[in-house]
Symmetry: C3
Subunit: 340 residues, 3 copies
């Protein structure tokens, strides 16, 4: 069991109190016992910790929280993430290549790759060293997957998709399905436009469960490094998403839109096609983004507005009855004046 | 073929007319023939039944509908459900454990469990008596599944998830994928927070197709007994949903939110994180719930309002042009008065 | 390599310039090289083509674009689709029936059917000639699939579903899961209504990745011929969709609603239950359609309005602060007048 001082070293922080205290695990604040460590988020510097039973707390270095045993760090949330990984090392799903997996003769497997039962890897596909492909995942032909990736059960990766290193693809995600492209005959019948482009996913990306990323019609749909997508997200064909952007559940980005780096979107956002979102933009949940956003700003609403404007209008929109009442009163007064 | 009087007994109702009429099936009102029974919903007590060909009708006990053969019950909808089950008994997907299923040596199977071809059950997982796991479903390690559950094809249940008795999980649903948790470095890079908590699903729950329920970061995501989720729903990490709540398709509940019992949500609702929804609340489709709802009420809108307020404001919002016109008129009149 | 004049013949167009120019492929405008052909969309008749390197351009017959080598057609987008198919013929996923596929003894396979590894086809199901069923797809019992269909990996088709010819079902789509139907006991407990109806899908339909189409309670959920559904769409039980309609990602149609022919819906639209949408209606992204739409019109908003009305109201809703300011000014002026 690591001691508090070892924990402090692990997260690059300083300890206060009993450096020899043995820490057996990390827990939520209100559940932590005498040998657990827990964390107090940076914004909660005023948290009441008097009733806690935790052995030690991780707090922000500039926090004024008083507690018997502390670890002081720049960012408690990141330290928490680090300790979760330390106390809960991931166990591999499967060892080696399962007998019931179907791996094409021309596929290339790196060292230490594991392929679960009933998974499929197609012709000429390459899986980098240390990557895991779980049961029922289907990797079509001519796919490239980097090192140390984690492809969960029943995910599907269509042909010609390229995936970087350290990518996590959650169960049921579909990468590289056909983009939604149709022409119309003069009579209005829908005619499919074949989708022969690719999807390219950078290093360190994470793709949520049942999320869909469509292949481009003829070019590439691109996620730069470290993009994080939540569950049930829809990424249209030919979309480009910049590095470190994070997109919450059930959001959809329409075709050919370019999203900058470090953009953050809430859930159920919709973004129109063929527009640009600047680096660092934040989009509130349920917004409908209908046009290009040129500078680092926060937006909300359908159609989107700068969030301060949106809040003002929202308050007014919820009090329209009062506004109409005032208007009626004025109408009456003026009518009376006109009579005179 | 059961007779009308037997049907009445089955649904705990009273019959009128020819109790010996043979009933061969249950049908939609306008399709029912002389040996079919159909139902008239409680709220349709004024339905015109003169043109129907149905052999018999199930109606509310206090209905004034006149028809040759009737079954009178307290709730025709529930009687309809009962008869559908009677006339359409579910047939098992597979008998026993398929040769191509992969069931770990340390997994425990209850009596009469059936596991379809190419399904997977991991180490130490337990499947209760009478449960069915269909083709391609993947049950990771250390999962507990109760009795008489129905896990449809290609559903995925991640490690350490616990599922009660009589639970139905529809195709493609993903239970226990990582919650969407990230920290940010000072430079803005996203850093994954490992998600090591669990999902616990009570007895009698139903999880729709391609719906996702994320595992908690460190605690539990919980569905109490008899919660019903439609398709493509997103349940964030650490969410808690009370018993008998029903959530329609494409709705999303953000992390750590607590939903009470018998809550009903329409489709495409979004609920913010870290809030509480009281028992019995009803939320209209497409609403955006941004804060705690303390009492049994009906809400609608983005952000949500009490539904009566929302309706009033909606009507006004759709007639803003008229309001502006009135305002202009007043401005003119006053300008004229000021001139004098 | 086909010559320009052959390309023109293929798309039913006329060529200008060097009819013997060899065309090796089709590319996006700005990427096309001296042996590629690219297309200029009809609405872009004023496009600046001076810097392009493309060997030839496909343009609308009435376009005034001047370029060395041209193919003139009625609809460049349709010609583009035709050439994409020509230059990128689809390669089959698998040849014949894989050893690890599980095909029931009573299932009937047409000529040239291919079934990928670990796919499942149930009792009495029929798969038409030339159809492909990819790895991990699960076709339950008593399903009918027509000719030349393409069922991608891990799609699921429940029992008694009927699918026409030339249908494409993308990965993870779920056809025929139970509709979301519940009764409530007097105490408020949810009681499942069994869903014993069917889904019927016409010829030429395309169903997006992870899209869900629920089976009807007792009748049929129907997609007429050539309906196109994007990813993550939800079609409720007993819905009927007319031919050539196209529905974008993350849209949901509630139960028993009837959608006409050639209806177009944007993404994240929600449509209420038991309503009718006339032929040719267009619904903007993120709209909430709450009632029947009787004539061919374009609507937007929540609740939906005719799009012109919606735009006017939206502009006003975004400028409520200005309206309130004017109101305040009038109030002051009138108060002053009254004082006198």
């Amino acid at each position: 069991m690591p001691e508090l001082k070892e924990i402090a070293a692990l997260v690059g922080g300083e300890w206060r109190g009993d450096g020899a205290l043995e820490i057996s695990g990390i827990q939520a604040l209100h559940r932590a016992g005498p040998h657990d460590i827990a964390f107090v988020a940076r914004g909660r510097a005023d948290a009441d910790v008097s009733a806690l039973r935790a052995g030690a707390l991780i707090v922000a270095a500039d926090s004024s929280i008083a507690y018997a045993n502390l670890v002081l760090v720049a960012d408690p949330h990141l330290a928490f993430a680090r300790l979760l990984a330390h106390f809960h090392p991931r166990r591999p799903f499967w060892q080696g290549i399962a007998a019931s997996a179907c791996v094409a003769a021309t596929a290339e497997m790196g060292a230490g790759v594991s392929i679960g039962p009933c998974a499929f890897v197609g012709e000429r596909s390459r899986v980098g060293a240390g990557s895991e492909i779980h049961s029922g995942a289907v990797i079509y032909h001519d796919v490239v997957i980097g090192r140390d990736c984690l492809i969960y059960a029943n995910a599907v990766i269509r042909e010609n998709v390229a995936i970087g290193d350290n990518v996590i693809i959650h169960p049921g995600a579909v990468i590289g399905a056909d983009g939604f492209g149709f022409g119309r005959t003069a009579e209005g019948a829908a005619v499919k436009v074949p989708q022969v482009g690719r999807v390219i996913i950078g290093n360190g990306c994470e793709i949520g469960a049942n999320t869909c990323i469509d292949r481009s019609t003829i070019e590439e749909t691109v996620l730069e490094d470290n993009v994080k997508l939540d569950n049930l997200v829809q990424i249209g064909h030919n979309v480009h998403i910049g590095r470190d952007s994070a997109i919450s559940a059930q959001t959809g980005i329409s075709g050919s839109t370019h999203v900058g780096a470090q953009v953050i979107m809430g859930g159920q956002v919709g973004v129109a096609d063929h527009i640009r979102i600047a680096d660092g933009v934040m989009i509130a949940a349920k917004s409908g983004v209908t046009g290009t956003i040129k500078s680092r700003t926060i937006v909300a609403g359908i159609p989107h507005q700068e969030i301060g404007e949106w809040r003002k209008n929202m308050v007014l929109a919820r009090n329209l009855a009062a506004m109409r009442e005032k208007l009626r009163l004025l109408e009456k007064k003026i009518a009376k004046m006109e009579e005179k």
